[in-house]
Symmetry: C2
Subunit: 371 residues, 2 copies
DNA sequence: CTCAGGTGAGAAAGCGGTTTCCCGACGGTA
DNA sequence: TACCGTCGGGAAACCGCTTTCTCACCTGAG
């Protein structure tokens, strides 16, 4: 019977089996040939004592504990959840577990939290860290083995995995332009988010590629209520001639749409709306939301693949960037002819027509290049 | 400068400071008075070497590693995410981190995963385990210190924290009955989910309390697409006289609603829809979804409070059950007079009228008691 | 029959900390 | 001045395991 007071140690097993600790260890780890008779006695003792090797002791001698850390700005973000799930499952298949640390969007806490978490584990993944680039560049190598998600970083020791937001934005604008939209509104994410910068870059590229198209960036955020709050500004822009909205992500779009409808706008008749990430709910929104699909779980799996290589001491793989895939649903459609011509007319009289939008003008960025 | 090849150990620090390891340990842990001069030298050496105590070594000697495990059936479930976030934040405030393990809804894998995860940590929280009650009852004590979420268990050593689903369902039915609904449909969750059983119990109680009200249970599931797939059966039931639907959770409701609309039903005019959990998106659904609110983060915080007490060796607190709170939004409203009388008429002719619904009859449970 | 080579098991040395134990020094009191 | 109690720091034990080292024994070849 197992001793209930104190868990059995390898010494107990050795004593009971009448062999040395070394033999017990050898039997349990199968590292070396052992007399079958000894093996049998050891196994019997293990079973009788309910012995399980101490993880701590094993960690101490091995110098690793088969655990990796994942640091995220917000555990409630569907993107990070998907990555966490993918990572967790992939790592589990190799006998690793993952430790999570939520920084609650506190960029300045990140370094300390990351170091502490890394110190407990064999490796770490920094998920969309919010800290400034120089700080990240300085910190990342100290954390190795490490993988960074959704931030660019040209450190050969620290591979990155991410989403090509710029490309995704270009593709999304292509889609909207292809439908005939020329005046777009972009609801921008948090400044601290690096992917926000990437999206802006993509938008600029797209605007350059489509001479007739302009994009107005409105400050917004990354959450449902941010989108909801932005609806009035969007409605104003729409009345000023905009025919399509690109939201920072799906959450913003999903928060935005119902309010737009409340304000009397029809989607997509009066205004097309597109999101980013393709969260599971996007297809069930009203109307179903056009979005750029991001392979969340796959992202997590790829992170693990890199982490594992790093832990094994292999050279880090090349940076990986997933190209988002357009999921065209009914929230985007060609602008109605009436609105289209109206838009063109208003655009022509830009200076005066944009006056109503100046409520948000201070933070509004005009991305058009063909001014 | 820190030695880049091998992290500094306490021996290195001691040597550099010209003191014993014991003194270094004492300085660093402040357990005992030490000569300020020694403390200064130690701190200098620590800084110079970039020394950080090994977590593994410390764990070995202390017999704990300041980490707790959380085992969940599905990391993508918003409820579990909320709990994880709450737990993670609360635990972090006490210097603890949390390790996650996703069982991917494999009930039979749970015991092994739980034991393994527990073995790496100081304590464990089993989140809505899917395993059968007898198995859980046998396993839980072996895992102590442990806290179980969303499962009842009368083991004094293993506190539980959960949601009073039965009560929530009662309250929800009260709400619908108060609006004038008498024929309800319930979209049931997975059989393995214990909270599904609780919900059913609540429904039975409610039906008993409201003699005029009946509830038809349709098998469904717990995810968006489960709700979506169930729409046809719901529409059939509605045509047969039902005027309100209670979904297993918000995800199901959110998947259901757009499809109902596609099928030509208006919400809430033709049918009221209610969910459970009050996920953030519920308020932004079309129409905004009436739901029973569950304090996800608070749940996680309470779990931590119990876990911490257990780890400290204190007696376990009493089981805690949160009573869900009704969030009345526009997806539920009084049935239209026409439909109401129609419902009554059809109910009277129940035997023949329910014939169209027999497509799902095999798995349909009639909860009405006043037959 | 003897000896080199090989094999398997026990003893012991870590892994990197914490904590106990012990002793020397110091301060206070008689 | 002598003695005792207190305090602080060093040596060493210990946490529980893995792994090296060592040695006894067994086998096969000369």
């Amino acid at each position: 019977m197992a001793d209930r007071t104190r868990p059995a140690t390898i010494a107990d097993v050795a004593a009971r089996a009448g062999v040395s600790q070394a033999s017990v260890s050898r039997v349990l780890n199968g590292k070396q040939n052992v007399d079958p008779a000894i093996a049998t006695r050891v196994h019997a003792a293990v079973a009788a004592l309910g012995y399980t090797p101490s993880i701590a002791a094993r960690s101490l001698v091995h110098g690793r504990n088969d655990t990796v850390a994942m640091v995220v700005p917000d555990l409630e973000n569907p993107l990070f959840q998907g990555i966490l799930k993918g990572l967790s499952l992939a790592a589990a298949a190799d006998g690793y577990r993952v430790l999570v640390a939520d920084t609650a969007e506190q960029a300045d806490e990140e370094p300390a939290i990351a170091r502490e978490a890394r110190h407990r584990c064999d490796a770490i993944v920094l998920c969309a860290p919010r800290m400034p680039a120089p700080q990240l560049r300085a910190l990342a190598p100290l954390l190795a083995p490490a993988v960074v998600v959704n931030r660019s970083l040209d450190d050969p020791a620290v591979p990155t995995v991410g989403v090509d937001y710029a490309r995704g934005m270009r593709d999304l604008v292509d889609h909207l332009a292809g439908l005939g939209h020329t005046r777009l509104v972009y609801l921008a994410g948090p400044d601290a988010s690096s992917s926000q910068g990437e999206r802006m870059r993509g938008l600029r590229d797209a605007v350059t590629a489509h001479p007739g198209v302009t994009v107005d960036a409105l400050p917004c955020g990354s959450r449902l209520d941010d989108g909801h709050r932005a609806a009035d500004a969007v409605a104003t822009a729409v009345r000023a001639g905009a025919t399509a909205v690109i939201a920072f992500n799906d959450l913003v779009a999903l928060g935005l749409m119902p309010r737009l409808v409340e304000l009397g706008l029809r989607i997509p008749d009066d205004v097309s709306v597109a999101g980013f990430d393709d969260v599971p709910l996007a297809r069930y929104a009203t109307p179903p939301l056009t979005s750029m699909s991001v392979p969340r779980s796959e992202l997590g799996a790829q992170v693990w693949s890199r982490l594992r290589a790093l832990i094994a001491g292999e050279a880090s793989e090349h940076a990986l960037l997933f190209r988002p895939r357009l999921e065209h649903r009914t929230s985007t459609a060609p602008p109605s002819e009436a609105r289209r011509t109206a838009g063109v007319r208003e655009a022509a009289a830009a200076a005066s027509a944009s006056a109503p939008a100046t409520a948000t003008a201070s933070a509004t960025a005009e991305l058009g290049v063909g001014a």
